[in-house]
Amino acid sequence: MPPAREPPVSEVVLTGIQKSFGANPIVKGVDLRVAQGEFLVLVGPSGCGKTTLLRLIAGLETIDAGELTIGGRRVNDLPPRERDVAMVFQSYALYPHMSVRENLAFGLALRKMPKAEIDARVAEAASLLELSGLLERKPKALSGGQRQRVAMGRAIVRRPKLFLFDEPLSNLDTALRVQMRGELARLHRKLATTMIYVTHDQVEAMTLATRVAVFNAGVLQQVGAPLALYDRPGNRFVAGFLGSPAMNFLDVRREGASLAGKGFALAVPDGLPPNEGPELLVGLRPQDLVVGSAGPLQGQVEAVERLGFDGYAYLSSPAGPVAARFDKGTNVAVGDSVRVSPVRDAVHAFTADGSRALRHPFESVAREAAS
C-alpha cells in the first residue's frame, strides 16, 4: 500500500463554502482546489462574491458552512493571524503613521523575529520592488504605484504560505497597471508561492493566471487555464465574460441542416449533439466575424471602433446587436448596411438558456490538423 500522500504545504481546498450577509446569500457553496504554487485568479462582475470569498480565505469573514483547509489544516475557526496568509488590499491599507520600513517590518516584528533578520528581509523586499530609496518615507509622500509596491512588499517580507490579492491594481492608471502586472508575474515566478488574486479585469485574469476561476452571483462558473476558458467556455456567462468585445449571442432553431435565426441561417456545425434542441443559442466571437459585402448576417452599422490594425463595427441586425471585426482597409461608416460572415467553424453552441455549452469551435480544425 502506498504511503498516504502528504498534502503540499500551501494547497488551499474549499469545500461547500457558504456565506450570507443577513438574508443575502453571497457565496453559495463553492468547491475549489488551489494547488501548491498556483496563481489562481478569481474573476467576475462586481458584487459576484469574489472579494467575499477571498476574505473568507483570509479569515476576515467567518464561514457559514463548508470547510476551508490551507496546507491540509482546517482553518475555518482560526483568526487571520494564525493562517499564515498575507493579503494585499485594494486600498493598500498602509499604516499612515509608519515609514515604509516600519510598514514592511510591522508583521515581522510582531512575530518576534530578530532585528537582523527583519532588516535583511526588508532590504531584500525593497530591492525586489525598487523601494530601497523610499524606506524612510511616510506613505503620504509616495505615488500610487509606490504605495502599491509597499503593499506588496508588506506581503512578501512575511514569506507566507499563501498570498491573497484583492483587486490590487484597480487604483492605478493604465500604464502603471500594465507595468505592475508584469512585476506581479515576475514575482510569482520568483517566489513560486500560491497566490489567489481577485479582479474584475479579464485582461489581468488572462495574463497573470495559471488558472482562472470565473464567478457569478456567488456560484463558481468554471475553472481552468485562461485560454482553455476562452476557447471552451462551459456556459454562456463564461463565454460572454471573457473576451473583448464580448461574444455575440444569437437565438436559433435547428431546422434540418441549418440553424435558423431571425433573418439569417447558418449551417449546423460539426459535433453539435443531434439530440439537443431544436431551440439553441449560438455564440460567435466578434473576432471570428468579418465585415464585408457577403455573409449570412445583415445589419446596420451603429458605431465604429478603429483600433489601428483593425477595428470593430457594432451593428443592429434583425437578430439583435452584433459586433464584428473588420480589417484596416475595409471601409465602414455609421449608417452603412453591411453583411457579416463567420470564419470557418467559429460557432459556439449552447443550450437555449445558456447554462451549458454544446459545442466549441475549431475542434474539428484542430482534429484535422492533428490527423
Binding site: 483570509a58 479569515g59 476576515l60 483568526p79 487571520p80 493571524r81 496568509v85 498575507a86 493579503m87 488590499f89 486600498s91 491599507a93 498602509l94 499604516y95 499612515p96 503613521h97 510591522f106 508583521g107 510582531l110 512575530r111 518615507r137 511616510k138 506613505p139 503620504k140 509622500a141 508588506r154 512575511r158
Partner: protein
C-alpha cells in the same frame, strides 16, 4: 428727587405707596429706581461722586463706613429723632460719633419652631437641651434643630451668648477668646449628639423644616417665605444662654435711607428719608412689605401687632447686636468660617480653633504695601512700545506706503470690524485692565500704585509657609495635580466609551451615545450642585450606598484626599463626554482595512489598539487634550461649588483662590489681579510647550 433702592415685590409696593404719600403731603416729586441688590453698592459709589447719583438711597448699614469714607452719605444729626427708633438700630448707623441716615427696617435671626413638635419654644438653653433629645432621631434623619452651622453669621448668637467678643478694645478682630472656645464646644456637642445635622446648607435647612424633620430652625425673616403652607410654625427670639444668663444675641442688620451730600435739595432729601422711616411709611412697610420696622411707634398699630412674624422679629431684634459697620468686620468672615468648619468636621479641637482663625486672619490681612513710583513702569512700558514699533519698522514691507500695502483697507475694515471690536472689548481691554490692576493695591474703594509688590508678596509666599494652602506654590501644585488627574481620566474614560460605542454589534448604540453626551449638555453648575449633594455626609446618596454595603460613611470634605476626589469625580463626569465625542469622531475616521491589514499581519486586538488606534488618534486627541487641560486648569465652578476649597482652602485651585482674594477677602482686587496674571503666565508657558508637541506630531504624520 431721585431715590434708588433694591426692593422687589411687596417691599417695593410698600415703598411706592410711601413715596406717593410723601408727594401728596409735600408736592415734591420722587423718582424711584430699583437696582439689583448685588450691583447697587457699586453703582452708588460710582455715580454719586460724579453728581449723577440719587438724592436718597436705601442700603444695608454694613457698608456705611466705606460710604462715609468715600463721602457719599450725609450725617443726619440734627434732623433725626433718635428716640423714635430702637436704640441698637440707631447705634448701627453711627460712625465716629455721628449718625448717618434713617433706620427703616431690621434683619436678624430668630427661632422658627414647628408648633406640632414644639408647642412652646424654649426660653433658655436648659430648656432647649431638654427638648432636643426627644426631637432628634438620627437614624431617621430627624433633628431637633437646624441652621447653617458652617456660616459664622449663624454662629454669632452662640458666640455672643457665651459672652464672646469679636473685637478687642482697639477694634481689632480677636478669635482666641474664652467665649469663642465655649461656643464652639457647645455647637460641636450639639452636632456630636446628632441634635443638629452636619454640613448644613440653606437648602438643606429649608427641606428639613418643610419635611418636619427639623423641629426648630434658626433663620431670618426671609425664611418665612420658604416654609411650606402645610407646616404650622411659630417664631420666637433665640433662647437665653443658661450658663451665662445672656441672650443668644444675633447680628442685627439695619436697612436705612441715606442722603447723598451731592443732592441739590438737601433739606428736602433729608425730609424724604426721615418721612420713609417713621409714621405712615413705617406702618406701610410692616403691613404691606412685611418688613420689621425700626420705628418703635409702628408697633402701636393693631395690624402690626397682630402680625406674629413681625412682632416676634421685633423682640428678637431688640436683643440683637448691630453688625459692626467697620472694615474689620469684613475680615472676620473667612477666618471664622475656617475655624467653624474645622471644628465641626473634627479636624481641630475647639480650643485650637481660635488660634487657627487668628492665623488665617493675619495671613489675609495684608498690610498695604508702600506706594511705588509709577515712573519706572511707565518708562518700561514706553520703551516696550518703542521697541515694538522699531521691530515693525525694520520689516521692509512696513516701509511701503500704507495705501499700497493695503489697497482695499476700507472694505477689509468693514469685514473685520465686528470681530476686531469683539476682541478688543472681550480680550484686549480686560487684559490690559487686569495687568494694570495687578500693580495697584485696593482698600476701601481707593487704589494706590504699589508696583510689583503684589507679585513679590505672592511669589515670596509672604505671611504663610509654602506648605500652607494660602501659598501660591501650594495652590499651583494642587492645580497641576487637579489638571493632570482630570485630563487623564477624561481621556481614558472618553476613549474607553468611544471604543465601546464604535462597536457596531452594540445594540441601542444611538441611545447610549445620546445618554453619554447628556452630562455635557447640562449646565455645569447644576451638575456641580447635584454632586455636592451626592457627597453630603448624612444625606448624600454616595454615603447611603456605602452604608448599604456595610461600610462606614465618609466625611468627604474633611480630608484633602477625599475632597479632591469628590471634585475630580464631578469634573470627570462633566469632562469625559467631550473627549468621547472627539475620540469617536477620530475613531470613525480610521479606515477599517488598516485593522484588517494588521489582523492579517498578525496583530492581536491589543496590538492593533496600541499600534494603529492610538497613534492615529493622536492628531485628533492632542488638541482636545490641550484644550481640556486649559479648561480644567481654570475650572472655577466645580471647585467653588463642590468642595468650596475645603478643608481649609486646600483644594482651591489658582483661579478660585484669585476669586477669593478679590471677593471674599476684603476686596484685594490688585492682589487677585496679580494672581490672574500669574495664571496667565503659567498657561502661556504650557501653550508654548504644547505648540511644540503639536508641531512634532504634525511632522510625525507627514
Amino acid at each position: 428727587m431721585k431715590l434708588w433702592h433694591s426692593y422687589r415685590g411687596a417691599e417695593e409696593e410698600a415703598l411706592e405707596k410711601s413715596a406717593a404719600l410723601f408727594e401728596q403731603q409735600t408736592g415734591e416729586k420722587v423718582d424711584l429706581l430699583a437696582i439689583p441688590n448685588d450691583v447697587l453698592g457699586d453703582k452708588l459709589t460710582a455715580a454719586i461722586p460724579h453728581g449723577v447719583g440719587p438724592d436718597v438711597f436705601i442700603f444695608n448699614h454694613e457698608r456705611l463706613r466705606s460710604f462715609q469714607h468715600l463721602g457719599i452719605v450725609t450725617a443726619s444729626d440734627g434732623s433725626i429723632d433718635k428716640s423714635a427708633y430702637f436704640a441698637n438700630a440707631v447705634d448701627a448707623l453711627s460712625v465716629d460719633g455721628k449718625t448717618y441716615g434713617y433706620p427703616l427696617s431690621l434683619k436678624c435671626l430668630a427661632l422658627y419652631f414647628n408648633t406640632r413638635l414644639v408647642p412652646r419654644p424654649p426660653a433658655d438653653t436648659t430648656e432647649l437641651e431638654r427638648l432636643l433629645p426627644g426631637l432628634s432621631r438620627p437614624d431617621e434623619n430627624r433633628f431637633g434643630l437646624a441652621y447653617e452651622t458652617g456660616n459664622f453669621y449663624f454662629h454669632a448668637p452662640f458666640l455672643f451668648g457665651f459672652g464672646g467678643d469679636l473685637f478687642d478694645a482697639g477694634g481689632r478682630a480677636t478669635f482666641d477668646t474664652k467665649g469663642m472656645v465655649r461656643s464652639l464646644e457647645y455647637v460641636k456637642r450639639l452636632q456630636d449628639s446628632r441634635f443638629i445635622p452636619m454640613e448644613t446648607s440653606g437648602a438643606l435647612v429649608k427641606s428639613l423644616f418643610n419635611d418636619e424633620r427639623a423641629a426648630m430652625v434658626v433663620s431670618g425673616p426671609w425664611f418665612a417665605g420658604e416654609i411650606a403652607p402645610s407646616v404650622k410654625y411659630g417664631v420666637a427670639q433665640l433662647p437665653r444662654n443658661s450658663e451665662t444668663g445672656r441672650p443668644m444675641s444675633p447680628f442685627l442688620g439695619v436697612e436705612a435711607a441715606f442722603v447723598s451730600p451731592r443732592s441739590a435739595q438737601l433739606p428736602q432729601a433729608q425730609a424724604l428719608a426721615r418721612f420713609l422711616s417713621v409714621g405712615a411709611a413705617s406702618r406701610l412697610r410692616a403691613v404691606t412689605g412685611r418688613q420689621v420696622p425700626a420705628n418703635a411707634a409702628a408697633y402701636e398699630d393693631s395690624a402690626v401687632q397682630e402680625d406674629s412674624l413681625i412682632s416676634s422679629f421685633r423682640q428678637a431684634a431688640a436683643n440683637a447686636t448691630p453688625m459692626p459697620n467697620t472694615l474689620e468686620m469684613a475680615r472676620v468672615w473667612e477666618p471664622m468660617k475656617l475655624a467653624l468648619r474645622a471644628v465641626l468636621q473634627g479636624g481641630v479641637a475647639p480650643a485650637e480653633a481660635g488660634a487657627l482663625a487668628d492665623r488665617r486672619y493675619r495671613a489675609l490681612h495684608r498690610e498695604r504695601p508702600p506706594d511705588a513710583s509709577p515712573v519706572p513702569y511707565l518708562a518700561v512700558g514706553a520703551l516696550a512700545l518703542v521697541a515694538g514699533g522699531a521691530y515693525l519698522a525694520r520689516k521692509p514691507r512696513a516701509l511701503l506706503p500704507f495705501r499700497r500695502r493695503y489697497p482695499d483697507v476700507a472694505r477689509a475694515a468693514v469685514y473685520t470690524g465686528p470681530a476686531v471690536a469683539g476682541l478688543l472689548v472681550l480680550v484686549a481691554v480686560p487684559f490690559v485692565v487686569g495687568i494694570s490692576l495687578s500693580l495697584f493695591h485696593h482698600e476701601a474703594g481707593s487704589y494706590s500704585f504699589v508696583g510689583l509688590a503684589n507679585f513679590a508678596d505672592i511669589l515670596a509666599s509672604r505671611g504663610y509657609r509654602i506648605s500652607e494652602p494660602l501659598s501660591f506654590y501650594f495652590t499651583l501644585v494642587v492645580t497641576v495635580a487637579w489638571t493632570l488627574v482630570n485630563v487623564v481620566l477624561h481621556v481614558g474614560l472618553g476613549l474607553f466609551l468611544a471604543i465601546l460605542l464604535k462597536e457596531p454589534l452594540l445594540k441601542l448604540r444611538g441611545v447610549f451615545r445620546v445618554l453619554l453626551i447628556v452630562p455635557w449638555a447640562v449646565p455645569n453648575y447644576i451638575t456641580a450642585l447635584m454632586w455636592k449633594g451626592l457627597f453630603h455626609r448624612q444625606f448624600g446618596a454616595i454615603n447611603g450606598f456605602l452604608v448599604l454595603l456595610g461600610l462606614e460613611p465618609v466625611s468627604w470634605f474633611t480630608r484633602f484626599s477625599t475632597s479632591f476626589a469628590a471634585n475630580v469625580a464631578t469634573n470627570t463626569w462633566l469632562g469625559f463626554p467631550f473627549m468621547m465625542v472627539v475620540a469617536l469622531g477620530a475613531l470613525q475616521s480610521i479606515p477599517q482595512d488598516l485593522y484588517e491589514a494588521a489582523e492579517v499581519d498578525g496583530a492581536s486586538k491589543w496590538v492593533q489598539f496600541r499600534r494603529i488606534t492610538l497613534p492615529l488618534l493622536r492628531p485628533a486627541l492632542l488638541p482636545a487634550v490641550i484644550l481640556g487641560s486649559v479648561w480644567t486648569f481654570n475650572m472655577f465652578n466645580i471647585i467653588y461649588l463642590v468642595s468650596g476649597g475645603e478643608p481649609g482652602g486646600s483644594t482651591d485651585i489658582l483661579v478660585s483662590e484669585a476669586y477669593r482674594w478679590a471677593f471674599q477677602r476684603n476686596e484685594q482686587y490688585g492682589f487677585a489681579a496679580a494672581y490672574s496674571v500669574l495664571i496667565f503666565f503659567v498657561l502661556l508657558g504650557w501653550s508654548t510647550v504644547t505648540k511644540r508637541v503639536t508641531r512634532a506630531t504634525d511632522e510625525l504624520m507627514g
